[in-house]
Symmetry: C2
Subunit: 443 residues, 2 copies
C-alpha cells in the first residue's frame, strides 16, 4: 500500500489541489491585500504499477484514473475545489455504543476509503468494477457534539462545537439538523459516488443510521475553464473570496492550536439554504446585480475591476451615492478591516429537487406573486478554525441586512469537528480518522 508523503509537508501543498487550477488566479486575502498565488496543482493521475484495480475490464476514461491522495496532514475534500457531485451523510450513532465501537468504525472506514479513493477495491467488496473509477473521490469525516459523549470524553469537546446562535432569518427544519457524525463524499463521477456511499453505509450498518442525505452538484469536470468560479442557479459566481493558498488555509481553515488531536483539523458548518428561484427570476439583471454587489457576467465588484479584485464599498457615483449598496450580499459578507479572521473556505453545492408546493410555499413571503415551480437551493458547506469567530459574525451581518434575504432562507444547520488527516503508516495516532482523539481517551 502506498504511503503518502504529505504527512511531512506542513503546507499540505503536495496534495493535488486543483481540478480547476484555482491557484492560477489572483487570490484575495481577508483584509483585501492581493497575493499572487505561486503554484498550480493538477490532480494526481494514478500511474504507479500494482496500484490499479484488478478486474479485467475496468473503467478507463481519462477522468476515471484521476485520484486525490487520501492520506495527508489534513483530510481531503476541504482545500480542493468542489468535485461535480456531493453526497453529504448526516449519521446518528446507534444506542449502546461507546469508545471501542467508534475506534472500530473509524478504523474500518479509514481503511476502506484509503483504498476506494485510489481506485482499489475495499476489502470485502464484491464489486471491483464499481471501484475502478475513483474520479477524484474524497471522503471527509467529522463529529457532532454528541460524538464526544458517546466516547466518554465530553470534557474534550471544543467550546465551539454546539448549535450556532439563532439568526433572525432562520427557518430551521429539524430534519436537516445536527447529527453525531458527518461524511462528506465528493466525486466527479456520480456512479462511483453512489457506490462509495453505499459501501460506507453497508460497512457501518451496526453502528450508525442515516438521519439525512443531502445531495448536490456543481459544474461537471471539463465544463468550466481552469480557474473559473462555478455558478449557482441564481447565476451568481459562488466562491470568489475563498482562501486559496496554503498560507491562507493555514491562517483560516486548519486548527493550529489546542490539543494535539485537534491540530490540522478543522470545523465544518453545514447550512441548507433554500433559494426562491421563482421570485428571483422576476428581477431584472440590474436589480440582481445590485442585490449581489457584483456583475453577473464576470463576477467583478460593481465598484470596478475584475472578479478577484477587492470590492470598494466606499466608491461613489457622480452624485455621491455608493456604487455598491451597503446592504448588498458582497458588502455584507466582506470581513471588516479590523476583523481579518472573518474568512471561511466555502464548498457550496446546488440542490435541485422535484418541485414540492408544500415545501416551497412554506418559504414564500406573503407578497410573493410568482407561481411555485422550483425547489432549489444550496448545501452550503464551509470550513474554518472556529465558527464563532468566522462563520457566525459573517452570518450575523448577512441575516441582519443582506438584500438576498428576500430570496434565500436557511432551513438546516449543523456543526462538526473535522479531525486532522491520516497516514497509512502513522505512528502518532494518525493512522485512522480521529485516532488522536480516540486514543487519548481513557477507556
Amino acid at each position: 500500500m502506498r504511503t503518502h508523503t504529505t504527512s511531512s509537508d506542513p503546507s499540505g501543498d503536495s496534495r493535488g489541489l486543483s481540478r480547476r487550477g484555482f491557484l492560477t488566479g489572483v487570490s484575495i486575502a481577508a483584509g483585501g491585500a492581493a497575493l499572487v498565488a505561486t503554484a498550480s496543482h493538477t490532480h494526481h493521475v494514478q500511474a504507479e504499477e500494482g496500484r490499479g484495480p484488478t478486474p479485467t475490464d475496468t473503467a478507463s476514461g481519462e477522468l476515471a484514473s484521476q485520484t486525490i491522495p487520501f492520506d495527508g496532514v489534513n483530510q481531503a475534500g476541504i482545500a480542493e475545489p468542489e468535485q461535480a457531485h456531493l453526497n453529504l451523510l448526516g449519521l446518528e450513532i446507534k444506542p449502546g455504543l461507546g469508545l471501542k465501537d467508534m475506534k472500530r468504525l473509524m478504523r474500518s472506514w479509514t481503511e476502506d476509503m484509503r483504498r476506494l479513493t485510489q481506485g482499489q477495491n475495499p476489502l470485502g467488496s464484491l464489486e471491483p468494477e464499481l471501484a475502478s473509477s475513483p474520479a477524484n473521490l474524497t471522503v471527509t469525516c467529522g463529529y457532532g457534539p454528541r460524538f464526544f459523549d458517546v466516547i466518554g470524553a465530553a470534557e474534550k469537546r471544543p467550546a465551539w462545537l454546539k448549535p450556532l446562535p439563532a439568526y433572525s432569518t432562520d427557518k430551521l427544519e429539524n430534519r436537516w439538523g445536527q447529527t453525531d457524525i458527518v461524511l462528506q463524499v465528493c466525486c466527479d463521477d456520480p456512479v462511483t459516488l453512489a457506490f462509495a456511499v453505499r459501501h460506507l453505509l453497508r460497512s457501518s450498518i451496526d453502528y450508525v443510521k442515516v438521519t439525512w442525505l443531502q445531495q448536490g452538484f456543481m459544474n461537471a469536470d471539463g465544463s468550466l475553464a481552469e480557474g473559473s468560479t462555478p455558478r449557482n442557479l441564481f447565476g451568481q459566481k459562488d466562491g470568489t473570496i475563498n482562501p486559496r493558498t496554503s498560507e491562507e488555509l493555514q491562517q483560516h481553515v486548519w486548527i493550529n492550536d489546542g490539543p494535539t488531536w485537534q491540530k490540522n483539523g478543522s470545523c465544518m458548518v453545514v447550512r441548507r439554504i433554500f433559494m426562491n428561484l421563482d421570485t428571483w427570476e422576476l428581477l431584472d439583471r440590474n436589480s440582481r446585480e445590485v442585490a449581489i454587489g457584483r456583475t453577473l457576467d464576470s463576477g467583478a465588484p460593481l465598484s470596478g475591476g475584475e472578479e478577484f479584485d477587492p470590492i470598494d464599498t466606499k466608491a461613489t457615483d457622480r452624485v455621491g451615492l455608493p456604487i455598491i449598496d451597503p446592504m448588498s450580499h458582497a458588502a455584507r459578507a466582506k470581513a471588516p478591516q479590523n476583523k481579518p479572521e472573518q474568512v471561511i473556505k466555502r464548498r457550496p453545492y446546488t440542490y435541485n429537487l422535484p418541485p414540492d408546493p408544500a415545501v416551497v410555499q412554506a418559504m414564500a413571503r406573503p407578497d410573493d406573486k410568482a407561481a411555485i415551480i422550483s425547489n432549489v437551493g444550496l448545501v452550503f458547506i464551509c470550513f474554518q478554525q472556529d465558527p464563532l469567530h468566522q462563520f457566525h459574525p459573517i452570518q450575523q451581518r448577512l441575516s441582519e441586512g443582506d438584500r438576498l434575504n428576500q430570496w434565500i432562507t436557511h432551513i438546516g444547520s449543523a456543526v462538526y469537528f473535522i479531525p486532522p488527516g491520516v497516514s497509512a503508516d502513522g505512528k502518532d495516532g494518525d493512522r485512522y480518522w480521529g485516532a488522536g482523539l480516540l486514543e487519548s481517551v481513557k477507556a
Copy 2:
C-alpha cells in the same frame, strides 16, 4: 441561425452520435448475426463563427463547448448514448387548453431549445451565462394518449399509445404513471441541465404542470473509455444488446410507415424500476452472474466470448447442463430467433435517492433478511417503433421468469409518441415539435 443538414440525410448519421464511440465496437443484430459497425462519430464541437454565446465571461472548459445538433430527421436524445445526467419531466396539460395552445407551446419550446442546446441564450432569458455550457444538452419531447384528445384528434392516436398490459410482477404507483407530455432532458453538466429544465417550465407555466420529475445519472463524461457500456448499481453492464448502427435504428427505432406526421418519430416507454441493493448484495458473485447470464467484469455471455458476442443459450457444460440458466436475465431478454423485431433502444439511468424505509419496505419480499439502507433503481427509458411488438413481449418474458425479479420491481409505467425531428427552415410541417401532427388537425 444555423440550419442543420441532417434533414436531407436519411441515415441520420450526420448527427454526432457517440460520446463513448459506441459504434466502434462490434454490434449485434436482433437475430444474433454480428455486424461490424463502419463508422465512428464524435460530438460536434461548436466552432463556427457567430454561434458562440454572447456574455463576456462564459464557461469555457472542453466539455462546455460540446453540442449535439438539435435539428435533424429524428429528435436528438434517442440514438445518442446517454449523457451523464437525466431530468425526465412528466407533464399534465392544464384544463381548458386546445390545439392552438399546443401549437404555441411547441413552437416556443422548439425555438428556445434549438438555441439552448447550441449554447445560445433563449430569447427572453436573462441568464446568458447559464446557457453558455451546452455540454451535449438534448431535449426530447413526446406525447401521451390524452394529448391527442386535447388537440381534438383522438382518431389520430396510434393504436399502441395506451397503457401497457399489466405484468404479474408490477407494483405500479400512480405517482409515476402516464402523463400528457414528456420532456427528456439530458446533459453532461448538471448545472446546465437544471437551467434547461427551469427554462422549459418557466416558459410553459400557463400550459402545463409537473406530475413527476425523474432524475438519474450515468457515468460522467470522461469516466468511461470510448465504446464501454456503462454499469448500473448492480454492477451490471447495461445496454450491451442495444441497436447501434443507422440500419439497426431504422429497423427497430424510427417509425417508417403510417401517416407522414409519424414517420421518423418513435415510441418511448418509461418504466421506473426499483432495485433492491440490500438483498442483491447478499449474493456471492457467482450467483449474481448466474442471475444475469453474463460475467460481471467484462459483460461477456457465460457461454463464452466477449461482451458483444451473441449469447448461446444451447451451450452445455461437461455434464450436459445449460451454461446459461434459461431463467437468467440475458436468456429471457433475448429475442427469439423467429422474432427479430424484439429489439429496443435502451437509455436507462440510475436513480439514487435518500433511503426511505417506508418506500423500500413496500418493495421487500417477506423473506428478505437485509436491513434496508438503499433507495436505488433505474429510470428505464427505451425507444422503438411499436411497444406492443417490442417492449411488451420482452417484458412479458421477463416478468414470467427473469431471475432478477427477486431483486427488481417495476413501480412506474408510461408510453409516449415521439414526433419526428425538426428543421429550422422546415417547409413541410417540421419546423417545430409535432408540427406535422398539429398542422394536420382541422381546427
